[in-house]
Amino acid sequence: MSDSFTMNEAQPRLLDTTDQGLIGAPLDRPEGALKVSGQATYTAEYHPEGMCHGVLVRATITRGTVTGFDETAAAALPGYLGLFHGPEFLRNPAQGMAGKAPTQPGDRVAYHGQPIALVVAESFETARDAAARIVVHYDEQPGAPVDPETAPSEEPDDRTVQGDLDAAMRKGAATLDRAYTTPGHAAAAMEPHAALAEWEGDHLTLHGALQMIRYNKAELADAIGVKPEQVRVLAPYIGGGFGSKLGISAEHISAALAARALKRPVRVVMARQTVFDAILRRTETAQRLRLAAETDGKLTAIGHEDRISNLEGEGFAEPTAAATQFLYAAPNRLVRKTISRNHRTPSGSVRAPGEAVGMFALECGMDELAETLGICPVELRLRNIPEKHPETGQTFTAHALAQALREGAQAFGWDKRTEPGTRREGEWLIGMGVASAARTNMLIASSARVTLTRDGALVETDMTDIGTGSYAILGQIAGEMLGLPIDKVSVHLADSDLPGASGSGGSFGASSAGSAVFLAARKIRDELAKRLGCAPEDVRVDRGQVTGDNKKAALADLLVEPIAMEASIESGETAKTHFSSGFGAHFAEVAVSEITGEVRVRRILGVFGVGRVLNEKTARSQAVGGMIWGVGSALHEELSHDPRTGHIVGRDLANYHVPSHADIPAKMEVRFLEERDDHANPIQSKGIGELGISGAGAAVINAIHNATGLRVYDFPATPDKIVQGFMEHGR
């Protein structure tokens, strides 16, 4: 029933002709009433009969071997049910889309805080206490490198070298050669990572806070040594992901193992401190950016080198320079990465891996170069937009950077920007900054099933909704295609028994799963055409009426037999011939206290080209969410590591400062440009949630410069760093 559609050529804009008023409309989320009334059920909130509670035991050394566990004190507690560990345990969560078990280290410890065992008890309170009473014996291997600067490192082969960067730097009329550093970041989703495992015979049902069900099912089966068909994964509601719930991790595997051994359902919810220690973080980065330009601002060279870190054996490497590879033209190019191999908590994907931190360097560097050249930073960017992908020569699909910069500047009042350090309100110095936004767009293989009956349509896929709006947009696509009001469409998600979709990650979920729903609905339209007796290309489905070739029938009359269609999509030729990216521009206004160095964001405008907008309301929320993450990474967020153990210091939400209400102004404005990306997918849409963060922080940092005349190169720009800058300038 399912044959896969391959994206080999630009697709017609069918959704521009269906005319049902659903696609793009700012509809409320269908699950909204459940969420605001506390009735949406997250993983930890199922209570099967006989459920017991697990708490993870974690390593208190950085490197070595566990030689034994002493359970004596724990086992004496009434309600203690046991300690579980063994070869199936995971060193760290699976990286996104792994589809197989991550490293299973046996008794090896590779970072401080690594989950090494699970304690299970009748109550959460007993399990928590028991976990603290387990005495772990180690054979510690001291001296584990934890400082990325001094730890051993390696250089992957996939570097870019075009032309001669050094020569261009020597000849450039204006050049920039700067070092930038960003600290590690935590996704810090509000729902702590959780699992509830239940076995029926040799079949496992796992409720998990997970973003990618299809892959997670395979990972779990692989990790515990069962067949994928013995595993069912469910995640109808997920309290935020941002990359932190891409792959299975300690709570899932340990819950599954303990539940099998105890023959009882086991729930494991990570304590917040454990989430910080044992969930993949975003790496810290050290970056060097080099730019050279002619006097007219035309770039002649771009060099972006970075050092990131990860544990030995982890395949993920933050693609720091991802946007640098295609954002601006320059004949001489260098992109090179170094991976420090150290024993901090391993790193992985956190919202917009690469762009989120790499664009600090590129976009703050462009701002500084513009100042050197005496060219408006908006204009400098406009002068360097490439015709084709500068590295690969691919044709860009819809490319909105120029329009976003121009319209944004106009709407923001960019012409009112003054010279650095010249605008003041009392002790507050006011400034504006700009940055480009770019985030590669992807299409990931996805399947979905749509069933149309006289009562309405049912959309089914294992796609997740981590707050991104999947429930809303998938229903809108089906309703638009099938001429149904939105309340006649139901959407069932995040059950591994349903057709497998991309899952939520890389901002590709809406386009990928949405295309599968679109194609399934298109097949239904074909079937309706057949039943009506018209050619498929002639059929119109309009508010319950099916017409075509001068024939007309009520939809219900054609549905004596329901129609169920499954469809799949995968990327194809267009991904080779063309390069698809979201583009945009961020404009920020900040106030900086000249006394304390505190920064307050006053307003931000983001203008984005994201292809077709599927739901204007949820799209705006995604974009603003990303922009606020940009504020967080510019001003607050920083994982601190103990210099001796690598252990994350201040592993909680009091010490890791995500933005609070008071950090975010009401004026967070978003404008979406009218755009269709015909080569991206058949619904002409692109990702949003990560585009919103990409460049946003740099706009804030550039605004700080405009306010104060200071440049910060070591992020976040906390008060101490601004004050340091003031003092260096005798202020």
Binding site: T60, H112, E125, R128, D129, A132, Q273, G426, E427, I595, T596, G597, E598, R600, L635, H636, S640, H641, D642, P643, R644, H647, V649, G650, R651, D652, A654, N655, H657, P659, S660, H661, A662, D663, T718, P719, D720, V723, Q724, M727
Partner: protein, 340 residues
């Protein structure tokens, strides 16, 4: 959290009688439970004093006020007398924690809250305060939030309270009930010990002692009061540095200045020498700068928290400029009515 016996005290006598080396009083619980969950504190008995009569009122005490130890932080900040006559206290309270926590946290509990030093909170790390004699992992560790004044080689933890800083500037005192029912009154510097070689001993309270009230002196009529808190985000964060000031002008000179500082020291910090330097002087940037130098003369910092010197210096000058009229007052600086 370890198992414990829960005792709901029906009187102060009852509460005192239940006290012991392994017992803890619980009022708001917002810090105690935080620490018990992590087994940083492991009391075997928890004595609930949150329902005791008579501890949750604010009453006249001669020309001043007597604030019951169970008065919630939110209620204290909202009290009309505090807002009008002791605005620095209202401001400090409102700068602390969150609305939810202020609704729960008590006056006495706020005074006795523990440091937020991340090494104190991490039982995998050495900490002389948590486990006397185990060492101090903060030394040579991440030091951004650590104190720079009043520390010792054994402990560099900072006191986290905002409220206590304002109380220190207001020259408040603390009423303590001994197990035998007698009350004694301590200055705040007498309540808090400096860490020395026993950072686990934070106050001069003895077993069975219960803080019953905070005593405010008569309002400093005609004073300018302010609380300035600098933190890593705009709200809901502990102070990097905070300054509380109660300044009274006499003609064009500073009559009296009472300053206290948060984020800098193991207790709300007051330096009598600094206050004395300011008294009787005409306000000037140079004077304030010299006073700030004096405040920080004995500061001990490392690369991770050296910035606190600079922040404290700048914040202190800014606060004094506003309080003495050298600069226009902004939000956070309030005037207390002229004498009737």
């Amino acid at each position: 959290m370890r198992e414990f016996d829960y005792v709901r005290a029906d009187s102060l006598d009852h509460a005192a009688a239940q006290a012991g080396p392994h017992a803890a009083l619980i009022a708001g619980g917002t810090n105690l439970l935080d620490l018990m969950k992590l087994q940083v504190m492991v009391p075997e008995r928890v004595i609930d004093i949150s329902r005791l009569d008579g501890l949750d009122t604010i009453e006249a005490d001669g020309p001043g006020l007597r604030i019951g130890a169970m008065v919630r932080n939110a209620d204290l900040a909202a009290d009309p007398r505090i807002r009008a006559d002791y605005p620095v206290l209202a401001r400090a309270l409102l700068a602390g924690a969150s609305g939810q926590i202020r609704n729960k946290a008590s006056t006495g509990g706020n005074l006795l809250q523990r440091t937020r030093c991340p090494y104190f909170y991490d039982t995998a790390m050495a900490c002389n305060k948590r486990a006397p004699g185990s060492g101090c992992a903060a030394e040579g560790g991440a030091s951004r939030m650590l104190a720079i004044l009043g520390t010792s080689k054994d402990c560099r933890a900072a006191h986290p309270s905002d409220m206590a800083v304002a109380l220190r500037a207001l020259e408040a005192r603390v009423a303590i009930r001994a197990p035998n029912g007698t009350e004694r009154i301590l200055e705040m510097d007498q309540l808090y010990r400096l860490p020395g070689d026993r950072p686990d001993l934070e106050t001069e309270l003895d077993e069975g002692d219960i803080i019953t009230a905070v005593l405010l002196p008569a309002p400093a009529l005609g004073s300018s009061q302010s609380y300035r808190k600098i933190r890593d985000r705009a709200s809901y964060a502990f102070a990097l540095v905070s300054v509380a000031a109660v300044v009274t002008m006499q003609d064009d000179r500073i009559g009296k200045a009472s300053l206290a500082f948060g984020g800098l020291a193991p207790r709300p910090w007051k330096d009598a020498q600094v206050d004395a330097m300011l008294a009787g002087q005409a306000p000037s940037e140079a004077l304030f700068s010299k006073a700030a130098d004096t405040l920080l003369a004995e500061a001990v910092s490392d690369a991770g928290n050296e910035f606190k010197r600079h922040l404290a210096h700048r914040a202190m000058i800014a606060v004094l400029r506003e309080a003495t009229g050298l600069a226009p007052a902004s939000t956070g600086t309030d005037l207390v009515g002229e004498p009737a």
